[in-house]
């Protein structure tokens, strides 16, 4: 049994990794078929895992309710919502008066999805606007030299990206260098430079490191050097 727990996953990871790596360079139909087989297996495993996930969710909330842990009332709501949505999905219920504008043939399940779930999602997403404001407030407090630089850069970026920035650039004094006229306060150009030069340079540096890391972690997993993801540890 220890073989199936320790060696077998490494053999599978190595074989699958090498096959999929080689497949990338081989453009034949058989190579595509192999990829399809792997993709199908992925879906099959995901299907079984989804059933386990639902059980896990139910177990978590049931335990919370049974042990009366803090916030257990929310678990009642979760379990109730789960039951209602599942039941509405299984049964082609249709309740008069619960019809949407154009979706009357979709039944209760889709009605709840479209008119309850989607607005709640949108609400959650819209909270982001307020969080950006509070995060910006925290980040722009000039307590250190780095934070001050961040504050100044952010201010320049903001001015460069709004119409008033362009207005200032037009109204400010212009000077001529080698026949070209430049504004003394050209915020849009400065904002573009910040984005395209220092920002792009840093992002490319990070990206380069990331890509090498992707390859390195793939090699570590394929050759069984990294095994923590199997739960086996070192």
């Amino acid at each position: 049994m220890l073989f199936f727990k320790r060696q077998w996953p490494i053999i599978v990871a190595f074989s699958a990794g090498i096959v999929m790596w080689a497949r990338y360079y081989i453009p034949t139909e058989q190579s595509r078929t192999i990829q399809d087989v792997f993709t199908n297996w992925d879906r099959i495993i995901a299907g079984f895992a989804a059933a386990l996930a639902v059980l896990s969710m139910l177990h978590h909330h049931y335990t919370k309710v049974r042990r009366k842990r803090p916030g257990f009332a929310f678990s009642y709501i979760t379990l109730g919502s789960f039951a209602v949505m599942a039941l509405a999905g299984f049964l082609p219920w249709h309740l008069p008066g619960f019809t949407g504008v154009q979706r009357e043939s979709e039944g209760l399940h889709m009605w709840m999805f479209n008119w309850m779930f989607v607005p709640m999602q949108a609400t959650m997403f819209s909270v982001l606007a307020f969080f950006i404001a509070s995060a910006a407030f925290r980040a722009f407090r000039a307590r250190t030299a780095e934070a001050t630089a961040l504050l100044v850069t952010a201010c320049l970026m903001m001015i460069g990206r709004v119409p008033v920035g362009e207005w200032i650039a037009q109204k400010a004094t212009h000077f001529t260098v080698m026949g070209n006229s430049y504004s003394a306060l050209d915020f849009p150009a400065l904002a573009s430079w910040l984005l395209n030069v220092p920002n792009a340079a840093v992002f490319r540096g990070i990206l380069l490191g990331l890509i090498l890391s992707y390859v390195a972690i793939a090699i570590r997993i394929i050759f069984g050097i990294e095994r923590t993801y199997m739960g086996g540890g070192d």
Partner: protein
């Protein structure tokens, strides 16, 4: 294969001769493809041909072209069913027809009923009739019956598909037999079949420069036209015979008017172009021929392959060196140094540690890296006798995370402390997951939050809520657009590659640390290449200014390829 100029000239004369008399054709120079090359497209599975050319003569605004391929009759052999396959197909078809015989009339009647009920419902709604709810119920009932019949028909068709699909075959027997019938009928008419480039405006065709994967980054004649041929159009025998009907047949399927048949591998095709100008006879230009060959290696990925092999060798060599000399220096990563501090703080406060593995699936490398770090964190949590909460978004990640945490506790001799319900599935919906996780942060007030893996728009929602709850926060992600949000709201952020180094860093395992060293060598190599390329560019400019014309293009190209 390059067309000779004299051939172009002859064809031009021929084309003009074919054109009807009249002022337009007599005066205008007929457009003609010149300098034509027909070739097998490299780096593909052998079902593609490429054609490049430039236009000799001016194109009329509404000119359409069709590229045709000449198909030899032996191609039919590839679609001919063996006697056993034919027998299997006949049996499956007969079984399908038997099963569908009572269902199709019933479905047609149900369709009529549902349509009538829908009409009545719409009328009732328009007139605000009092019995609209009853009409709605009637419509739903009839629609439901229709859906059920359609589902049954679909079920039998699926059974048919599974019976006619042989193991390992890409096409099912039904499709193969149709290809055969269509091709046979089309080839009986003409051996030239239209390709996928059919009746198109030549101005909309791609140029050579649009396909660097075939012609390279700086191709010659970059503005010449390019067309990739991968299919031939076969016509339905019923269309040729004039008996075609678009009604569903006894197998509940509609036979199409034409079928796109892939070009077959290792087969030579002659190619010609039919140029149709407005109010003129079509001009036919022979383009040449080529074999659509199977390519077993993508030559365009050669540089990628060489780099991958070299990098793998460097990493493995670094690992071997690390096994002999385990005392490797790795620079201090503050975010990872703080892991112990964060877990210790949680233990002191008697609060749990919250760990998120990101929103990506297990197929994402950032999720795997997050799982690796989770294994290390679980061991520390077990050591400190603290509590670990892991809400998951992906079912597969959940099962892996449960296993990793369980092993972490077992490894530290604390299997009793492991509680499976603390590593749980929330939902796979992005914002529902975010709402639930933010709820946990606000209710349970974890003392330490770890955000590892891939994140999207929810990153700031999670991190800002965590900051508001007063937790010490450590984030690590490869999602570049989310990095600023984490840097702003978290105490420590692992930027990009640091996330992938975290597992090695925390474990101090020499082999893992060795792979980090290998990564550094790779990075140094890339930096060197960037430096060399920059110097080459600068040197070229300086030398040109000094009046020397040194050809550095080859060197630059080599560095670029690497």
């Amino acid at each position: 294969m390059r067309t000779k100029w004299w051939l172009v000239g002859l064809s031009l004369v021929f084309a003009l001769g074919l054109a009807p008399p009249g002022p337009q054709t007599a005066l205008a120079l007929a457009p003609y493809p010149s300098e034509v090359t027909v070739f097998d497209i490299p780096n593909d599975d052998g079902t593609n041909l490429g054609v490049t050319w430039h236009w000799f003569g001016a194109l009329e605004p509404e000119t359409k072209i069709t590229i045709e391929v000449e198909v030899a009759g032996d191609i039919l052999d590839q679609f001919k069913l063996t006697p056993s396959e034919q027998q299997r197909l006949d049996a499956a078809r007969s079984e399908l027809a038997q099963a569908l015989a009572p269902l199709i009339p019933e479905r047609d009647a149900a369709q009529q009923d549902a349509d009538a009920a829908n009409d009545a419902l719409q009328l009732g709604k328009a007139n605000k009739a009092p019995d609209t709810p009853e009409l709605l119920r009637d419509y739903m009932r009839k629609q439901s019956k229709l859906d059920s019949l359609n589902a049954r028909i679909e079920y039998f068709r699926l059974v048919f598909a599974s019976r006619t699909r042989a193991r390992g075959m890409t096409k099912d027997l039904d499709q193969k037999s149709r290809f055969f019938e269509f091709l046979q009928a089309s080839l009986a008419q003409s051996s030239w079949l239209p390709s996928n480039v059919h009746d198109v405006d030549p101005a909309t065709l791609d140029k050579i420069k649009d396909h660097p994967e075939i012609f390279g980054q700086k191709p010659e004649h970059e503005d010449w036209s390019f067309a990739a041929l991968d299919k031939m159009l076969a016509t339905n025998p019923a269309v040729i015979a004039g008996t075609y009907s678009d009604k569903p047949d006894q197998y509940a399927s509609t036979t199409p008017r034409t079928l796109d048949v892939e070009l077959q591998k290792n087969h030579v095709y002659n190619v010609r172009m039919v140029i149709q100008q407005p109010e003129a006879r079509p001009i036919i230009a022979e383009l040449g021929g080529a074999e659509a060959r199977v390519n077993y290696f993508s030559v365009r990925l050669l540089n990628n392959f060489v780099f991958a092999v070299l990098f793998a060798i460097v990493i493995l060599a670094a690992v071997m060196i690390a096994r002999r000399n385990p005392n490797l220096f790795i620079r201090r990563i503050q975010g990872l140094e703080a892991v112990d501090e964060a877990i210790g703080r949680a233990t002191e406060m008697g609060k749990p540690v919250l760990y998120l593995c990101g929103l990506d699936t297990i197929a994402s490398l950032s999720t795997l890296a997050a799982i690796n770090v989770l294994g290390r964190v679980a061991r520390r949590v077990a050591d400190y006798d603290s509590d670990l909460v892991v809400p998951c978004r992906d079912p597969v990640v959940l099962t892996v995370a449960q296993e990793v945490v369980r092993e972490g506790y077992v490894d530290r001799g604390r299997p009793d402390a492991y509680r499976e319900d603390k590593i749980f599935f929330v939902t796979d919906d992005q914002f529902a997951y975010t709402a639930a996780t933010c709820g946990i942060m606000m209710r349970e007030k974890p003392a330490a939050n770890f955000f590892m893996g891939g994140y999207y728009a929810e990153s700031l929602l999670l991190a800002e809520t965590g900051a508001a709850s007063g937790a010490i926060q450590i984030a690590g992600t490869d999602s570049l657009p989310q990095l600023p949000f984490f840097i702003t709201t978290c105490d420590y952020t692992l930027i990009g590659e640091e996330l992938f180094a975290a597992s090695a860093y925390l474990s101090r395992e020499p082999m893992l640390l060795g792979s980090l060293k290998g990564q550094d060598v790779g990075k140094a190599l890339i930096m060197l290449l960037i430096l060399v390329q920059s110097l080459l560019f600068v040197a070229e400019i300086i030398l040109k200014k000094m009046g020397y014309d040194v050809p550095l293009d080859f060197l630059k190209m080599m560095v670029h390829a690497l």
